[in-house]
Symmetry: C2
Subunit: 115 residues, 2 copies
Amino acid sequence: MTTDRLSATFAALADPTRRAILARLALGETSVTELAEPFQMSLPAVSKHLKVLERAGLIARGREAQWRPCRLEAAPLQDIAGWVEEYRRFWEGSFDRLDAYLQTIQKGEGNDTSN
Amino acid sequence: MTTDRLSATFAALADPTRRAILARLALGETSVTELAEPFQMSLPAVSKHLKVLERAGLIARGREAQWRPCRLEAAPLQDIAGWVEEYRRFWEGSFDRLDAYLQTIQKGEGNDTSN
DNA sequence: AGTGTACTTAACCTTTAAGTTAATTAAATG
DNA sequence: CATTTAATTAACTTAAAGGTTAAGTACACT
């Protein structure tokens, strides 16, 4: 996995435990122990998941006595939203027109449509 | 990685090569060889990426003589769009209100906010 | 039937991911 | 100052991801 931001974000979101953690954090900042509570895995495992989320910029962590409260960070989610919006035309009307148009281009000239 | 659909989709999208393939397919259906052309990796490597995309439902493959044309499938992308939309309130106005409200709930009662 | 083209499968290697238990750090509290 | 609570780090295991080369399959063409 390359470490560009989009890749890191998608990779972080590919795990259901991590998505559940984000969903919990959507309800507000909380501690690691409380985040771990719903899961059957060990605390170190959750700690690792949090590190993945942090490296992807999806959460930020504070310090409050012996607790390390986590909170959701929106920026990478905005990136995802922006990325996927680019594909919206595919499930909306403009798809067919665009597709038909570019099919022509493709077959008309060479395969110069790299990247 | 669990094989629920969202996880498979996010995992598939976590690779920049695969995202580039999808971007190319947004320009229209094309062959494996043409898809592979922009990349420095071997054809089998691309073939594997296509299999990942196919298993995630992000592409479908046809048969035309010795070619196996690939085309983009929108459904899993719609799932992603739907998922991320749930978090939109975080980077829009309602965040602060929601956050404040749920902070109160949390501290008021126990940690019954599992999952 | 034999050859070229398009692609996949097989076998393998190396790196990373996700989990474990045990040990460690850090702060609060008796 | 010893103990409890909160969380991380270390060391390790297993499995999966992503790449390679070499071999195999499928169809088209002469």
